[in-house]
């Protein structure tokens, strides 16, 4: 009777394969953490490890318990949304022993600039300064109380807050126009910007005051026929008013 014999080469490869599989099992046993995969594709024990770390932040409620005056001031200011430890750093140790450990107090210009340095990607209207131009060398708390940062003086120009618009307008044909030419802003807007928003033009005829064929403006200003140009679109749907020559 013929018996089936596994070819010699296959048997040897099978041994090699078995060694590789055993090696994989051993390596897995050594290297894969015991708690891996219990909760998800990660080491479950990491959760306990993180949970066992000492708490560093006390939380705003804890601060308010003692610092009522500052908390009250802050609660009605533009910084009402900020937690105390954003500027003062983790203060858990201070909360448990107020005398032994004092929290950090930022007095340099750098700390405020994390949020208030000029960046084109920050939203329009968010207070931004150019560090080198805005009262150089003067620490911010000299003029602004961080718990109520509204400037002591009402901003003199629109560019104090609308820096990105001012910078774009400065290189456009509209540079010579005052902001008030198109936007009517009440004095209240300078003190509390969001409670009294400035007005914006609402129709094509507003731009036509300078750009229509029969407008009484200077000859060099580009004219269009309001009746035919751009159909029913409003001017600012194609032309950005702060940089009208851009596309």
């Amino acid at each position: 009777m013929r018996t089936f014999r596994i070819p010699d080469q296959v048997a040897r490869l099978a041994v090699l394969f078995a060694v590789a599989v055993v090696a994989l099992v051993v390596v897995r046993h050594i290297f894969v953490p015991k708690s891996f995969g219990k909760l998800g594709h990660y080491r479950a024990a990491a959760v306990d490890e993180i949970a066992s770390q000492s708490v560093r932040y006390a939380g705003m409620q804890t601060c308010v318990e003692c610092h009522t005056e500052e908390a009250e001031k802050k609660s009605s200011s533009f910084h009402r949304g900020l937690a105390c430890e954003v500027c003062h750093g983790p203060a858990s140790e201070h909360a448990s022993d107020p005398e032994a450990k004092k929290p950090f107090v930022p007095r340099e210009r750098g700390a405020c600039l994390y949020c208030h340095n000029y960046l084109p990607s920050r939203p329009t209207g968010f207070p931004q300064i150019l560090e080198k131009l805005h009262n150089p060398m003067k620490p911010c708390p000299t003029c602004h109380n961080p718990h109520d940062p509204t400037p002591p003086h009402v901003p003199g120009t629109c560019s104090a807050c609308h820096a990105s618009i001012a910078r774009i307008k400065a290189i456009s044909h509209h540079d010579s126009l005052e902001c008030e030419t198109c936007h009517e802003a009440s004095p209240q807007h300078r003190q509390d910007p969001r409670s009294a928003l400035p007005k914006k033009p609402t129709n094509r005829e507003f731009c036509g005051k300078c750009h229509a064929q029969n407008a009484p403006s200077a000859k060099e200003i580009r004219r269009i026929d309001l009746a035919t140009h751009g159909g029913r679109y409003l001017c600012w749907q194609c032309h950005y008013p702060h940089y009208p020559e851009g596309r």
């Binding site: 070819p7 010699d8 080469q9 040897r12 994989l24 390596v27 290297f31 995969g37 594709h41 990607s121």
Partner: protein, 397 residues
Amino acid sequence: MDELFKQLAESLSQVSGFIYPNEAELHWALLVVIYPYLTGLVAGAFILASLEKVFKVKEVEPTYRLAMLTALAFLIVAPMPLLAHLGHPERSFEIFLTPHFESAMAMFGFVYAWYLMVVLLLEIWFEYRADVVKWSESQKGWRRLAYRLISLGSNDISPKAVAFDQKAVHTITLIGIPSAFLLHGYVGFIFGSVKANPWWSSVLMPIVFLFSAIVSGIALVLLLYYFTTLVRRKTPEMSCLNKLASFLLYTLIVDLSLETLDFIHRLYESEESIKILSELIFSKLFLSLTIVQILLGTIGPILLLAIARFSRLPDELKRVGYFIAALLIQVGIFSTRWNVVIGGQLFSKSLRGLTVYKMQLVGAEGLLVGIGFLILPFLILFLLVKLLPPWQESRSS
């Protein structure tokens, strides 16, 4: 740090239109271009080798073993650019220990391991076993020891055992073809499935990658076959070269058709990205796509191969034609990878601006490292060829 800022400032000066702040610099650079290029060569070389074993194309038999060794040498190097790009190569084995089945990138580790261990190494082992046993008897010193180790002590070279080896090779090749498709199809899949990127996101991507892989692999083996026969002062077999050139021509035409189909499809769909993509093609990618990839790397070789293959030129001229065409194809396929990887990152997700890629010379992802990864497979191939000569004459000895 200053150096980085300087580099960023140089890049920013060449940015046009609107781009998001994190798009000024490219995250996938030269090394990620080299990685699909190398895996493509592996898949292509293997598919060429399978022609002889599965489809019984006898003419390409002289290139079979060379193609297998080429595939192995390039496969060894293929993941290295990725590991260098990611950093911490010592952690890479962890994807095998804790497999993540929902991550295509993690699963690729297994595709790679399967292809290396089960397909290439096993097929080469069975193919060479009888010869290795003979060499272990005829050679001396360290070579003898090496051959004994490679043969795993399996010294049976009876006709029955050798016939079994050949059967095993045939079976492994059958498994190997879909594996090779999987290996390089995966690379296309990774790019094709980035749905946020209109330059990459296309279901045709894996297929286009696959055919360009076959093209580049055949061209590389043709170059190597021609070069090694010249070095060994032999005359290349014209029937083999002709067959290789024919396959190269046909796959190149299919590759071009697929890419044209992809192009026409995009044009016809005319999604909102079409404007920025056409701007990309005509500005930043004009040289590498229109001139190098399409004209020099595809249409040029198609004409050259067609003329050399089907005209009555003397053999010497035909060989030169094939050689130049294969060389141009390599440049073309490399720029294909470049245009996919780099091109896909040159335009903003806002679809309103273009950035620029400035390659470093030195540094972890620089040009020199890239050249190193392109040379390394040839050094490994040299060693493999020394150890396991793929030539006909060494087989009979």
